[in-house]
Every structure is written in structure tokens, then in C-alpha cells.
Symmetry: D2
Subunit: 306 residues, 4 copies
């Protein structure tokens, strides 16, 4: 079946063209706003090793919130169920950086994919590693089997200079006792972590262990046990695409994690991992053309987890 994927990708590449300029490139970080909205890339990494790509699949882009997936997977692999003492696993039901819910729930973020939750995860990693962001980088290099995965220091600095809301959240959680390291150090690590860049081809490869029940397909290295991997996929489905998780599940029907850089990593458990990138965002902060591309993909291949 996977032999048809190239044709599917080509069709999608053609179909998304009218959408490329309809989204809005993220502007809250000055550096991100300079990326052209015309980019579109997509890559499918099948568990049997075959890879299909189209468009700008080899252009690096800023992972942003997609790094929350890698950071969480690393923390989950190391700490196990202890992570759930510090963060919940329910959809947020509110815009992704709201403080209201955090106050209502006494400093425990709803899930590790909203900003507050991701800050707690970085705080957990900062307790275990000298430099949390380097740990995430090394982990991403391992997953993608690619030593050239690096930070974009200009983006990191740009993000650092507009980090007041994240800093507020960190101090707020510290007030509730749910933040253990110095705020400045964790915010620094978090901003650097978010600035990691990958190509679609690399990202699809890096996510493939989650399609393979927690084990890296080409090396057999087990990152998470099958049950934990399944659970992380469930978490992506209910919480992975900001405040639009319900709509995304409805339209696409695959576990996924998105970032405001315009990238989305989606999974077909037991079969393949898919990465798509297009910088124009919809109102919820997910790639507009990217979401459409994934919706088309599941429709054209008649595949979804449902």
C-alpha cells in the first residue's frame, strides 16, 4: 500500500498551493515572522524504512512547540509516572497560554503540551541534566539519527526577549511550589530548546519510534515501552494541537504535535510517521496548509486511527 504514498504526496502538494498565503506566519517572535509563507514540505517515514518526500521537505524550520514532544518523551522515559505529579493530561479548553486555568488548578498545568506544562517538563529536565536544552538536543539527534540538529541562536534570543508571559507562568507555578529550579535558568533552556530546527525528513524520522510502539525502527533501541508509547500517542491526540485538538482529531484523526513554526508531526501507529511544514498558521496556531495536507492524506489513503 505504501507504494502509493508518493502519488498521494504529489497530489497534496498541488492541492495545498491556494492555501499557502491564507495562513498567517507567527509574528510574536520577530525572527519567525521573516519566514516566507510560500514554503510547503512533507515527508512520510514508513516503518519498513522507505521515505517519501515532496516540496521543501529538506528545508530546516523552527520546531518550536514540537520540541515539547521530545522534551516530554525524554522526561517520561526517565521519570515514568512521576511526571504526572507535576502536570496533568487533560485538554486545556482554553487558549494555549492562559493563566486562568493554572490558577484554578493550583499551579498544576493541564498537560505537558501547553506552555505552562512544557515549562514544568523543562524544569524536571533541569533537575536531572546540567543543561536541559542540550539533553533535548542530544535526544533529538539520537531519534533522528542525525548529528546536525542544532539550535537557531537568533530565534532563541528573539524568544528570550519576549518571554515575559512564560516567565510570569514560571513564577506563578513556583508560588504554588511546582517549580524547582531558578526561573531564569529554565526560561533560558526553554527558549533554546524551542529554537531547535529540523527538516520534514528529519522530523518524520525522529518521530517514528512513536509509530513503532516506542522503539526506534532502524536500531531497535527502546525509548519507551509499548504501553507508554501508546499513552503518549493518546496524549498527542487529545492535547497536541493547542486549543484545536478536538477539531484536529475530527478532521485528521491522527495523533499529532504542532508548532508555531508551521511544522506538524503526525503518527500512523504501526505504519508510519508523517511530518509536514508550512509557515502560515490558522487561528488556533496550527499550520493551515499543514493541517489540510494531513486531512487530505488520511482521506486519500482512507487511513486514520478511527
Amino acid at each position: 500500500m505504501s507504494s502509493d504514498y508518493q502519488q498521494v504526496l504529489d497530489t497534496i502538494h498541488r492541492d495545498v498551493q491556494p492555501l499557502l498565503r491564507q495562513g498567517k506566519v507567527a509574528s510574536y517572535i520577530p525572527q519567525l515572522s521573516t519566514v516566507s509563507p510560500d514554503h510547503f514540505g512533507m515527508a512520510v517515514f514508513c516503518l519498513d524504512g522507505r521515505t517519501y518526500t515532496v516540496g521543501d521537505a529538506d528545508v530546516k524550520f523552527s520546531l518550536q512547540s514540537i520540541t515539547k514532544l521530545f522534551a516530554f518523551a525524554l522526561a517520561f522515559a526517565r521519570e515514568g509516572d512521576d511526571v504526572w505529579k507535576r502536570v496533568g493530561r487533560e485538554p486545556s479548553g482554553n487558549p494555549f497560554n492562559s493563566l486562568v486555568q493554572l490558577e484554578y488548578e493550583r499551579g498544576i498545568p493541564r498537560n505537558p503540551f501547553i506552555n505552562a506544562g512544557a515549562l514544568v517538563i523543562t524544569d524536571i529536565l533541569a533537575t536531572r541534566y546540567v543543561q536541559a536544552e542540550i539533553a533535548v538536543q542530544q535526544f533529538a539527534r539520537l531519534l533522528a539519527n542525525e548529528p546536525a540538529i542544532d539550535f537557531d541562536h537568533t530565534v532563541a534570543e528573539s524568544e528570550r526577549s519576549t518571554a515575559d508571559r512564560n516567565t510570569a507562568m514560571a513564577h506563578f507555578m513556583k508560588d504554588f511550589g511546582n517549580f524547582h529550579n531558578p526561573v531564569d535558568i529554565v526560561i533560558d533552556a526553554y527558549c533554546r530548546q524551542c529554537s531547535l530546527t529540523m527538516t520534514c525528513a528529519e522530523l518524520a524520522k525522529a518521530g517514528s519510534f512513536l509509530a513503532q510502539h516506542g522503539t526506534i525502527p532502524w536500531s531497535g533501541t527502546q525509548i519507551l515501552d509499548p504501553s507508554s508509547s501508546k499513552r503518549l500517542n493518546a496524549l498527542m491526540l487529545t492535547c497536541g494541537t493547542y486549543d484545536a485538538a478536538g477539531d484536529f482529531a475530527y478532521r485528521v484523526g491522527l495523533p499529532a504535535k504542532s508548532g508555531v513554526g508551521g511544522g506538524i508531526l503526525a503518527l500512523m501507529p504501526g505504519e508510519a510517521s508523517i511530518a509536514v511544514w508550512s509557515p502560515g498558521l490558522d487561528e488556533a496556531g496550527n499550520s493551515l496548509a499543514g493541517t489540510y495536507a494531513l486531512e487530505r492524506f488520511t482521506t486519500l489513503t482512507a487511513r486514520s486511527i478511527f
Copy 2:
């Protein structure tokens, strides 16, 4: 593989015994509180026609919110995407009967499975049918292939006498223009609809069309097209278990709809539908032993959608 299901059910039946008295039987409706917490029943309806049952799988119980699934499926089948003008499809992120979010979102309930959303769905049916609750009953009879699916009038009256919060929500939505029929009539229909009773065996059968891509397995009658059926499953996964959808997906990993009567309907797309019933509820209002039983089921069979 399904030949092992009986053994799995027997194992689960034994394992859940210590949990039966740990949950709390729903008490907000006087009539529901009289049910013994010792009940436990489970039924698996495979798409090939085989059925496996254990415990009280043939005892009728009050469907309560599970009827929201049937009411929505009926409205969705009739109105198509027009239903999304009246209700959203995002997890609520708040206790299931909160008015706060309804005010914040200008009278559009977050999804059709919270009370406010279910009231809108009944309002939609009340516009199309003389008696909305009879339409839902007939639909349930068709789906279960069982003419003896009836209301429990004592439960309906009990619910009607404590319907102030639902009545408040209906008037509130009417104020926002999102309620078209007289409030009293819709509340009556809604309370009757919720009082429908089924056995686990009947419920598993009634839900099987959602495992079979929208088509009733034994008759070939298409209720929903495959895409709509897939989307409804996605909606169940993100919104079907009150404020615990994230946790339920994490632990069980199947689309499901629960009710405060203690029943849960879960789906294994392409394979089977599962009904479980045990009246003791956890803090989120889902059957405590029922959720555990489904978690065990996916663990023992190594099956989930993820």
C-alpha cells in the same frame, strides 16, 4: 484472535471485584441512587457477529449520557455539518455542567456531549420530529435490532424534578439565540431520552455501526458515511468521557461514551464494539470499575487505536 475474548472477559470480571464498592453511585437523581454498586456486566460485539458477555451483561441499566451519542448520531445523520453551526467539537476542559464556558463562548456549547450541547441537539431534533425522545428511542431500537428498548418513566420524572441547572442552561442559550423550541418541551424530551435503558449486550450491538465505518454490520444499513463515522469516533475520544477525556484516552485508548448510570460504550474501529456497566462512579462521573475493565481489556488484548 477474537476467540480469546471470553477468557479476557472472565479475567476482567474477576479482577474488578475489589473495585465495585470503591465507586460512588450517582445520587443527583434520587432514582439512580437506589441501584446496587455490586453490578458488573460487559459485552463485546464483534463485527463478524460473535458476541461475548460476562456478569450482568443482560441486566437493563439507565443509559443517561450515553443517549447523547445516539441523539447526536441521529442529528448528524439528518443535518450533516449544519449541526456545527449550533455546537462546537472541542473538549470542555471544565466540569460537565459548567455555565462559565457557555457564557464565554456566547451560547455555543463546546461539544454535543456536555449537557448544554446535548440540549441543543435535542432542540435540533425537536424541530424535526414531533417528539424528539421518541425519535431517539426508535433510532436506538433500529441500531440494537431490539424493539423492547424503553424509557424508565420513574427515572425520567426524577430527573425532570431536578432539572433546574439544565433549564437554566437552555434559557441561557435561548438568550444567545441558540435555542429554538420552548424550553419546557425540550427539557421534557431530554429527561425522557436520558431515561432509556439497555443491557450491555444491547448497547454493544447498538454501537457496532460506529466500529463498522457507519454501517450496521448485520443489515448493511448505512447510518453515517465512513468519513462521518470516523469523525464521530474522534469526537468520542476527545469529548466522550466528561472532563476526563484525556485521562481516559491515556489509560484506555479507545473512543467511548459514558453515562452516570455507570455504562460505557467503547469502540475498536474495524473490529468490535464493547459495552460495560458498573454503577459506581469515579470523581469525573465515569464508571470506576467500567473504566478499569476497559483499560484491562486493551492491555490484555494489546489493542488500542494508538
Copy 3:
């Protein structure tokens, strides 16, 4: 000093002219929206019996929320501190008809001057009197020494037909156990009560007992003891002008109660009561020219309670 009041009123009358068309006449009740925004009337009733008027001081207008003051004074006079078991006495800090706070505070409205609180007060009166609205009417007639204070039935019916939000709140409070009579009966009484009409001259007279420490100046009839009267004035200052109580106190510096009909009753304790009417409202729902007129009055006479 009060010999100058006529001159002050004449000055104010001239000064407010440019403001008359800047406010927005209430439109949520169809009947109210037909009133011309050009009206302006003002009356000062001094405790020594002298009365000063200007403009449309003898034109009847719809009291609306100002009746909440009379209803509360009646309930307070009859029930004493027991009223505080059913309603609070803190400013709302939110738009005047919000349900959020009501949910947060478990069905106890913040104060008797927001809609929810006024509904509870009418509910209290409905327990004591056969017809709560007639009791309020008779009370207003007594206070104003004027037998011709009547309902405007067209306004009452207009309000009744758009009472969904108030009905929602009543059912909501009933769900919390803070509503004792049938919702429909109380809503009817409430809508009629709100439709009472008075002139500025009548209203200033009717409010004068609150300037005279609880006793009607011309008859010596004690409505409230001095301590209760003082406390009711304090309540007006902190809660009497919707969500703008802070701003109103800052600018005007007198206890007052406003209504969306454009009327405001203000008090100079120990000296006089003042009524002003102009239908155009500001964003908070208070008479725009009326608030300005009172601000000018305290500035020109160098009088305020502060």
C-alpha cells in the same frame, strides 16, 4: 446654602445639553428604545421640605433597576439581617448580568443590586406577599406620598418576553437551593416591578428617607433604623451603579442607584435626595448626562460624603 440649588440646577441644565445625544438609549427591551434621548430632568428634595427642579423633572420614566433599591429596602425592613443569608454585599467586579460569579459563589449573588441578587430579593418578597410587585408598588407610593405610581404594562410585557437570561439565573440559583418560589411567578413579579414609573420629583421624594437616617421627613414614619439606613447607603455607594461603582464614587462621591431607563437616585445624607433622568446611557449602563449632572452638582456645591 440650599437657596443656591436652583441656580446650580439651571447651570447644570445648560451644561449637559451637548451630552444628551452622546449616550445610547437602552435597546435590550424594545419598549425602552423608543424614548427620545433629548430628555433631561433633575430634582433636589431638601430635608427641610424645599424642592428644586429643572427640565423634564415632571415627566414619568421607567425606573427599572432603581426599583431594586425599593424592593431591597422593603425586604431589609421586614427581614433584617436574614437577607444576608441569601445575598452578599460586595461589589460584583463583573458585568451586571454575569453568571460566572454566581457559579463560583455557589448560587449566592454578590449583592442585591445585580440582577441575580434582585431576583432573590423578589423571591423573598414573594414568600411574604401574595404579589411581590404590588408590595413594592405600595411601598413606593408610601415613600413618595403619591398614590399614582403605576406599572407600565407594555414595558413589563416587553421585558417578560426577553427574560431568558434572568430566567436562567433563577433556575441556576434554584439548583443551588437559593430560590424558593416558582421561577415563573417571581420572574413575572420582577418584570412588573421593574416597569414602575416615576418623575424625578417623585423619585427624589421617595428616596428622601435614606437621607434622613431611615425616617420619612414629612411624616416621621421610620422605615429603617438609623444604622440600617446608613448601611443601605454604604451598599448603594459600593454596588449601586452596576460595574462602575468605583468610577461613580470617584467622580460623584454620593451613594446612588441607577437604572437603564436613564434615572439615578443619589443621596446627600442629612441634607437632601437628588433624582436625575436622561435616557442616554454610558457603556456601564448608567445615564451619561445624569452621571455628569451629579458630578457637576457635587463640584458646584462642593459637597460629597468624602
Copy 4:
């Protein structure tokens, strides 16, 4: 009349004894929790120069939030109505350090007496003065005519070490553009400012300009013009006692500002200023015995602004 004040104070001193151990000494700052709850002091400064005192009226205590009044008066005197571009003047209707409202209102605190608003005021002062806290100290010395008003550095450091919530709020407002100086510098100044100590006698004297229409009684120095002074009194009445402003106005009926150190400054415009201190707090964070003492004072002297 004021000749009776000594007798009134003596009566109150006797009456409050049973209440002294009912309140709860503030514990959120370690240093504050060490103060004995048995203290009670009260001072009345009459505009004619006479002073009446009772109990511990000459013992220094931590002013805490009462310094918000001095800081605001200083900023208001310097900036005039420009302060209202940065902060509102409505009661908060929520616990005094809530972030929810701040988010809802886009970074503009509701009033200068909640923590967020006081931080903005300190930020304003930090723009104008090299050291905001020194400016407040000098201002307090001027108002009290007392050169020995100093910081308690141990308290300031204690507060600094638990300032995470205030730091969160400052960053949050900075994110909304409503914070101009480095957060750390302003938080430092704020914690020092809060640690200022005074005796009741000094505090009553320092507040007397607000009873004298903005002018220091003994020197004739005008701090605020009469209109501004009146307005500041109004602000104290509606916002000066945390989330209990309505209840305080109802019971006491005087403009006042309280602090968690157990002090309260209250004003009788045109007559006197009153300071009371007792460390035990009620649930809203106001001095329990102090509030009762002021309630008794207005009852025994039959004086209030209403």
C-alpha cells in the same frame, strides 16, 4: 464633641479584648508571623490638633498594604489623571492577588490597591525617582512630620524571598506592555516599601491630609487639591480593604486602607483621621479587632459618611 473620644477609645479597648485571639496573624511572610496577636492600639488625630490614643498606639508595626495608599497618593500628586492610563478604579470582586482578572482586562489592574495595581504604581514611581521606595519613605516622613520612619529590612527580605506571585504579575503586565522598568528592580522597591513601619499615632497623623481635603493640617502644605483628595477617599471606600470593601463600608462606613500587618487607616472627612492596629486578621485579610474597633467607633460616636 471630640472631647469624648478618649472615653470612646477606652470603651473600645475594653470591648475588643475577647477578639484579639480570634484573628489569624499573617503567615505568608515568615517575619510577620512572629508578632503577638495580643497587640491592640488606636489613635485619633483631630484636625484641630488634638490626639487621642489607647493601648499600643506607640508601638511600631509593619504597614504592608497601607503603604499602597502613600505610594498612590505620591504618584497621583505627581502624575495626576495620567495614572488612570495604567490602572483602573473599580473594586476587584476577587481575592486580592488574582491573576484571572488581570488577564481578562489585558494587563490593566482594577485599582491601585490590589497587588498588581500597587506594582504598577511602584513602576510609575521607579520611572520618576532613582529609588521608588526612598521616595515613598520620604513622603511618609513628610506626612507624619516624623524623620524616624524606616524600613524593616528583615521583613523586606522575607517578603522578597516569597515574591513569586508578585513577580509573576509584573512579568504578566510587562507582556501586556503595562510595566516599564526591570521587574527585579521594581519588586525590590515594592518589598522595601511594604516593610515601612509606623505607630498608630504616626499613621493617624500621616493620613490626616486626606481628612483635611488634601492639605497637611499643621503646615498648610497642599499635597492634593480638594477634588483629588475627595476622589482618593472615594477610592479607599470602594477598594481599600481587599475583597471586603462592601462589607467594610456596610459595617464601618468610612474610607479606609488596611494592611496584612494588622493596621487600618480610616478617615472622617473634615474631622479626623484614625489609625488602629491589631495583628489578628479576618478571612479577607483585614484586622479582625481593628475592623470591629472602627465599627464600634462609628456606632458610639454616631458618625460615618453615610
